[in-house]
């Protein structure tokens, strides 16, 4: 009973299965690490979860099941839909702090979502970081936005356009692809006609970005292709081959094989898990870390572990060192951590190489 319980709806199967598997390992590892170190104020962490196959109703069912079996303090949710659906229940219960796979801009609103946060920038902030970078590299650049026709894909469009205008960048074309589209030739033709300096993709895991890149190359375009967190896993790109070379994107966390000096936590991770660690792993790991930190601060303040206190504790995090998971001390003033860095994929080494310094939108 003295345990601190992290519960989760994880998409272990289905379209986002790979994410769930990575997140599971990340949280699991962090929990193990903390427990080996004696827990949080002497209390052990425990992680319980259910598979949801990325379906909202299954996820809500899992929530209810876990909730009736355990006294939950933290919850890891698996989709924007779930985060929105369960929110009234979270607000009503007031006992749980929740984070998850979703970086939906809509969730970045402490008034409506007082008991939720995301362990990174929201999607608009991600593209914002990309724009920041572009504005510095090539002022006045021409940009094409490519988004999938899903809630996920459409999320940052409005915000990105607004931000681009502020930064004096020109959005020359907006391409929306149906979620089931396989062949993107017509979209590539649009891209060719627009001849942008940069194309920013959002709402995809991998396909159809490689096909865009390969056709653009055939056509002799020198557009730079960029993406956001969920399409930044080098493991997936490694299977694409040479075409992938030069793909860029924003990444809120360091890659597990980054041997930077100021990243002791990455050493720990490599010790615990010598094999490949995906980007969702890092996300899960960091989320668990923030959960723990919130719990620690709440307990230290002698307060009860409930949603309100945990969220308040989370928001006291200021210039916090994540052990190098994020290359810059972080401050969580609202529901997100608007920090990230641009990486470029290198097909020869099959790694993501840093292309910029850490960019924070908080300053």
């Amino acid at each position: 009973a003295d345990e601190i319980v992290i519960a989760g709806s994880l998409p272990l199967t289905g379209m986002f299965g790979f994410a769930g598997v990575g997140v599971e390992a990340g949280i699991q590892d962090y929990v193990k690490m903390i427990n080996e170190e004696g827990g949080i104020a002497g209390r052990q962490l425990r992680f319980v979860y259910e598979d949801t196959a990325y379906k909202v109703d299954a996820s809500v069912a899992a929530f209810n099941k876990l909730n009736s079996q355990e006294e939950i303090h933290f919850y890891y949710g698996d989709s924007t839909g779930f985060a929105k659906t369960i929110n009234p229940e979270l607000n009503r219960m007031g006992s749980i702090l929740m984070a998850g796979t979703s970086y939906a801009s809509e969730l970045n609103d402490p008034a409506t979502y007082p008991f939720q946060f995301m362990a990174g920038p929201d999607y608009t902030e991600m593209t914002g970081i990309l724009l920041e970078y572009i504005a510095k590299e090539k002022p006045g650049a021409k940009i094409v936005l490519v988004n999938s026709d899903t809630e996920f894909g459409r999320d940052p469009i409005a915000g990105t356009k607004a931000r681009a205008q502020e930064l004096g960048l020109e959005i020359v074309e907006e391409i929306i692809t149906p979620p089931t589209a396989v062949d993107v030739s017509t979209e590539v033709l649009k891209l060719r006609r627009a001849r942008p300096d940069y194309a920013i993709f959002h709402g995809y895991l991998l396909a159809p970005i490689p096909e865009f890149m390969s056709q653009a190359k055939q056509l002799g375009l020198d557009t730079k292709f960029m993406g956001t967190f969920w399409s930044m896993d080098p493991g997936s790109w490694a299977k694409v081959g040479d075409v992938a070379n030069g793909y860029m994107g924003v990444m809120p966390y360091r890659y597990a094989d980054d041997e930077a000096d100021d990243a002791p936590m990455l050493d720990r991770i490599r010790q615990m898990r010598p094999d490949y660690r995906s980007t969702p792993y890092m996300q899960g790991f960091l989320t668990a870390m923030l959960f723990s930190e919130a719990a620690k601060r709440t307990l230290e303040a002698g307060k009860e572990l409930n949603g309100e206190n945990l969220k308040a504790a989370l928001n006291t995090i200021k210039d916090f060192d994540t052990g190098g998971i994020i290359g810059k001390p972080i401050t969580i003033s609202g529901n997100s951590i608007p920090v990230g860095r641009i990486y470029t994929y290198n097909a020869a080494t099959q790694k993501m190489d840093p292309a910029s310094d850490w960019i924070s939108l908080q300053e």
């Binding site: 909202v56 109703d57 659906t85 009234p88 809630e151």
Partner: protein
Amino acid sequence: MLIGTAKHSYRADEALLTTSPQRLWMAILLIALALAPLALDNYWLYLACLVSINVASATGLNILTGFTGLVSIGQAAFMAVGAYTVAVLEARTGLPFLVNLVVGGAVAACVGLVVGLPSLRVKGLYLAIATIAASFILHFVFVNWQSVTNGNSGINVTPASLFGVELTDYVHLYYVFVPITALMVLGAANLFRTRIGRAFIAIRDRDISAEVLGISLLRYKLLSFAVSSFYAGVAGGMWAYFFRVVTPESFPFIYSIFFLAAIIVGGMGTILGGVVGAVFMTLVPELLRFAVEWLTTIFPNAVTALSPIRTIVFGALIIGFLIAEPKGLAEIIQRIRRFFHLWPFRK
């Protein structure tokens, strides 16, 4: 006059429950439903509410597909119409929630009428595909009709309230949803005791000869669509009050397939089939959850390793059922009933 073995009037012979054991079982079932919340925890109450929503919608689909023979793979889209209607009404008017539910059903029924139009020209799987088309077009409307649906972000629904009580607890919702669903199921059962129900079945069995018997195909096919969508709309309305947020992705295409699977596994063309099918299909994935959990005690990593197996088991169940008992669960129940009909006097 004496008809059959023990019935002494036409009225008795036409009753829904014709034997006293049947009446006894029904009474037991109703009492059990009334007392269930005393024994169930929040998770099971949640599932009970979900089951009741799904039963309402599946019964509607059964009227259309099982009884009228018009295959629809758009039931979830009709639910979405009901859910959006309720969400909009709840946000913009102060109408009581029961009224909202009925209006939700009515709006869904109207949409159903339109979607049903192709049924006058096409049949069978062609029609099924038309309903798929309708559901994708509706999805497009939900995403793009910003001013009403609020686009991708959807609409948050304030809790329903009855006699001043906010219906947020699953117990409260249970006591509202289960009676509504029970009434809807009863209504459907009644429907098939009258000329309208018989007309539906006639259309299923052979529509052109039905027409010559004086059944207007135009009217009854559309009526069937409307009734079915009304059920879906009310179920969708309950869904909206249950989950309290409605987005375009709340009612995915797979949810429509779920309903079709439910009535097929349960038994098409019997009221009982729609009900048990929905119960079964809603609970199976949850029971699998427990199976996997139990396996975790033996293989610690079972959840990750065995998760795809849930997808497989789900498919395998549909296949297995259809091959072993194409008439569905209802038929199995009937068989058990026949077996125990004279029990314990005879086997």
